[in-house]
Every structure is written in structure tokens, then in C-alpha cells.
Amino acid sequence: MFGWNGRILRIDLTRGTNWVEEMPTYLMQEYIGGRGMCIRILFDEIDPRIDPLSSENKLIFATGPLTGTGAPAASRFIVSAKSPLSNCIANPCCGGYFGANLKYAGYDLLIVEGKSPGPAYISIHNDRVEIRPAEHLWGKLATETEHALRVDMRLRDDLDDWALNTIGIADIGPAGENLVRFACIMSDGGRAAGRSGLGAVMGSKNIKAVTALGTGQVNIADAEGFRKAVMGFYQEGRNNGELIKRRMYGTWSLPGRANKSKSQASLNFKEGYSEAFVKYEDPEVIRKLIRVRDEGCFSCPFGCSKRSRIKDPEYPKTAKGPEHESMALLGSNCGLGDMEDICRANYLCNELGMDTITTGTMISCAMELYEEGYLPEKDLGYPLEFGNRNMFKLLKQIAHREGIGDLMAEGGIAFAAKYGHPELFMGIKGMGIPAWHPQAFDALGLQYATNNVGANHTKSTLPFYEGRKDPAHFVEFTKKDQDYLAIADSGVLCWIIYHGPLWGEKLSEWLTYITGTTYTQETLDRLGERIWNLERLFNLKAGITCKDDTLPPRITKEPRVKNRVVDIDRLLQEYYEWRGWDKKGVPNQEKLQELGLEKEGAGVI
């Protein structure tokens, strides 16, 4: 078989068993991999109304046909389950070496079901699959866990230096163990499947980590053609400067871009600009200040990720990040304006295993509640105005569910409501809003509001590109870009590189070389649309309605940025129409027929 392995590894934690299943052909042909396969399987196998933290939820680690093949920036993996944060479908995408290793070990998907009776980790070494005790790992920070696991593996498997640093590990920090609803699954020293609280799902199953080591191969249909095409792609990237720009600065070129255009989330979205960030508008300044080296995910020459140095002796010498999103949400959004502090906050979140974005909006919400006098100081035990470094303390309290952290770990909706001001939590479907202020571009507001997983930054295209800013067209483009990203996440391509308008057409090219089946753009568009609609049906069944496709009143009623508000009701109706959905956001009969989803829609429409 080319591209895929055609094998699913299933682990039943309750019974402590595992087995391999043959991958049904239609899954590969019609759902490609990653995100597509995940929604098909979850839709078929779990009731969307279950409690996400119960043992009925299933956690899928999914690769795509491109993972591990050497297609540039396409070796990522998807983790999917029902989200304990949004109660919607969740499918965060993660980089690093884990995806490629799962593939080389001989599997396309790993499905984890049930619940382990005690703390355990899953170890995959080709055909040897084990559920091993993890009492000694419980309570450890994310990179501590990885380090301990590498030591274990060196002793057990006699692995050499090269192999030890080639394996992939996905793990949770204390936040995941304590079922914090926005806990991440961390991977390879600071990468994250971050946004939907799947760390808590892993914690609810008592699984601390999954290690993958594969020494097998992936077959490519047209190896020669593929080798030349990748070379051509690099040439193109060099010629237009994109390759070099991304490797130099990664997402560090964005704080400047956002701040200059008044779209940088600041002070709980009260503003779109931070005075303190002016000094970081030139990415070279950040690079000089903190960078140690550039890091690429497996098979990614763009290397957008940065290892940086924190000078504080209490912290380790180097750590990954922070990316633009973390800089904005933990930085300007919480009133922090010093890069050292932002690095510390980012480091803490990564090690505790919490999503930096939702955590940032939680902290900023607490800060505003405190400043407005709604959150009494006695509940916190310390002052917490914007910019106060007591937020580091609060971060740890959330992860360990200590004091007020216990309530905050339940998410922003519950927390802000307890203090009487639910409108001050800047989230959608429970998920914190990312760095770009939605009032800066209407298109962004619509994308955040309609996203199947909540306010996610990786499932929409930034509105800089052709047509995306134009009011006459951006609703149409929102749909188009969403469908595109659904299929890109199935490859699994990296969103940062294949931004739809930029290199989006490469997916069909790589797929064709690798699998030997010719894919056209039209087929992929249709498959993407079907994935999107199936996810929507899952959410509708889970109880999500059009009332959840909305933005906080700060965005729709208070003109904070560029003196504008987002008229979400009007945009939504226009969007539903483009999608072929009715006024309540439910796919109509014709649309379902067109996509071949009538059976799945039964009971929803």
C-alpha cells in the first residue's frame, strides 16, 4: 500500500487489551486521514451526548497519508475526541516526531478506549504494544515526563543516542491529570495538541503518555517524481523568500503586524493595541533577545518553531516558544509587556500542560473581574490587576486545582458566571479567542463564531489574502477556507505553511505522487465540505445550536477596535445560506443529499 499503512491500532484500557484492525478502504478514499477519519469514526462509535470525561469517550491519535513521507511540513498528527471544554468535536493538530513514528510503527490510527484502572502509559514499538504502569510519572511536568520515559526506553530497549531523540512522545502535565478542561496533550518538548482540552480526556483515562517508536517504512507510489517535486517546492520557497522568512522569525513576525494594525488582543480584548509591544514590532528584536535555535517538526524545513532562553535561574536554560498566540494572550492580553515574563508564563503553561490561549483569556477575565471589584481579593489571596505577576501563582493554582484554581479549571463560562459577569469571558463555545482581535476584520469574527471546535486560530485563514478582506466575498471565502482546512488537517499538512491561498493546491499534488491515486482540487473540496458538515452534525447531536455560533457582547456591541462592532447575526445568516444550511444552522436536505450524508442527518433535521 502507498501512503497509508491500512492499519488501525486499538487499545481497550478497561480490559487491558490491544489489537490491530484492517482499515476500511472507504475511510482512506473518502476521509483521507487525520481529521477526516477521526470524525467518521467518532460519529459512528460514540454518542455525541456522552460526558467527555467519562470512559465512553474515545481518544484518537491520527496520522495522514502524507505523515512520515517527507512531504514538507506534512508530518503532523491529529488528536480527536469529544471536547470537555466546548462539548463539541475536538481535533487539534500537533507537530513534532510522534506522528511519523506512529506511521513507521505500522499504524495510521491509534484509538484509545475505556479507562485504565490506575496511572499508565502506552508504549508502542512497532508490533510491541504495551500498557505500562505510570505511578512514577504521575505528577511530573511535561518535559520531566518525557525525560523519564527516554531513560526508561534507553534501559529497556538499549536504544542509542540517535534513536532516543528520534522517538515521539505525547504526554500530559499535571493539568491533564487534574482534569483541567483546557489541558493540552504536549509532545516532544513543548509542542501541543492544544486547543480543546484533550489533555483532560487523556487524564480521565489515567493515561500519562504515549510513546511511539517505529522502524518500518512508508511506501511512495512515484518516488522519483515525488523527490523532484519536493526539490522544486524548495526552490520556489527560496525564490519567493517564504522559506527563509519563516525559518528566521516563525510566528514572531506577527506581533508587529497585529499591533501595527490595531488587532493585537490586549487587556481582555478591551483594546487591539499594546504600547508595551511596540518594542517587539521588529521580529529581529525578539530573535536577538531570546532565540537559541530554530527547530523544525519532523520533515519540515521551514522550522518556524524557536527554542528560546529564559535568564531567570529558576527556569531551565532553554524552552520552546513562545509563539505569537501565546505572546498575545498571556502577554498583551494580561497586561504583561516584558518578553522575559511572557517566556516564563508560556513555559509554565507548557510544562503544566495547559492551552496558553484559553488560559490567557481565563487570567485576563479574572484580572478584569478583580479590577472592576466583582472578584474579591479574599477569594484570590492576592491582588491581580492587569500586568500583576501574581498571575504565575494563579497559573499553578489552576493546574493543581488549588483554591480559586479549582473553579477556574472548569472553564471560563462557569468561572465568569460565578462572579456574576459571564460576558467578561472572551471565549466562544468555552474556548478562548485567539490573538487577532475579531473587531479588526469581520471575517475573523465570523470564522471564530462558526468554527466547529470553538474559537480556534488554526482552522481559519487570516484575512490578509486576496478576497478575504472584501465584504462582498469574505463569507464565501470563510466557507471555502474552512472546507480546505478540514481536508488539509486530514493530510496532515501544517496550517502555518499551507495557508489555503498560499500553497493550498500542493495537497492534491503530494497526495497524487504518494498514493498513486489522482486527486483533483474539486474532489478534495467536496471531501472537505463533507468533513465539515459531518462535524456539524456531531455538534448538533451533542446539543450545540445556532445560539452557540456567537461572539461575546464586547465584540458585537462595544466598539473597541477601529470603532467597529461585528454584526454577527447578519453574517451568520449569510454564512448559513452559503453552507446550504437553514436559518438555525442545520444542514438542509439537499445539502445532505449532495454530500451523501442523509443517513447521518437523520434525527437531526
Binding site: 511506501n219 518516488a223 523527490r227 519540515c300 524545513p301 522550522g303
Partner: protein, 122 residues
Amino acid sequence: MRIKIDYKKCIGCKQCEIVCSLAHTGTVNPWRSRIRIFIREEFCLPVIAGPYTEAACNSKGMVMVDGLEVDGCVVCRASRPTKSVYKEPDTGIPLKCDFCGEPPDPQCVQWCAPEALTLIEE
């Protein structure tokens, strides 16, 4: 002509390992590569497989790279009986870089977009 390695530019993406395997076997498996990337916290070290040697090693020890201690066995290019890198994983046959391509056109250089590997005339 030789391959110049500038480890400071290496980002650990392993595209060189992948293409070496692809060009020699038509399949993708970094364990079949004749070049290996050793990843450290502060830098990555690309090492290209040299000739196989049976001889006992008498230069074991630590070497300094950029002020950091690195195991001498890591930077040593030799493929040896006791080393597991640079061996075909299924058969155990030692692997050695053959400066591939005709005329020489090392594939690892071609796929190393960060230019940690470059071809120089010398």
C-alpha cells in the same frame, strides 16, 4: 567536491535522512539513511556515515562542541559492530554514504533547504 556541514544551520527536520532512504531504497525510513541527525537541546549534529570498521576504538571519550560535551561516539562517522546507527534495520548490513547521484548530486544536500549541508568544490 565534498559536503560541508554547518551544524548551526541544522533545524533537526530530518529531510536529509528521509531523502537518503528514498533515493537508495524507494521507500521512506530514516533507519535506512546514511546520514543521521543527532539532536541536542542547543543544536543538532548531522553526521554522515563513513566506512565500516571492525577495529577496536581507542579514542572513546567526550568531545567539546560549542562549549558543550558530546559523546565521541556520536560525532564519529564510523559504522562499527557495537553501534546500531548506520545499519540496515532488517539485515544489519552496514550502511555507508556513497556520495549519491550521477554525476555526484548528493540528495541530502538537495533536500536540506536550511542549507546546513552544502556542496563545495575543494
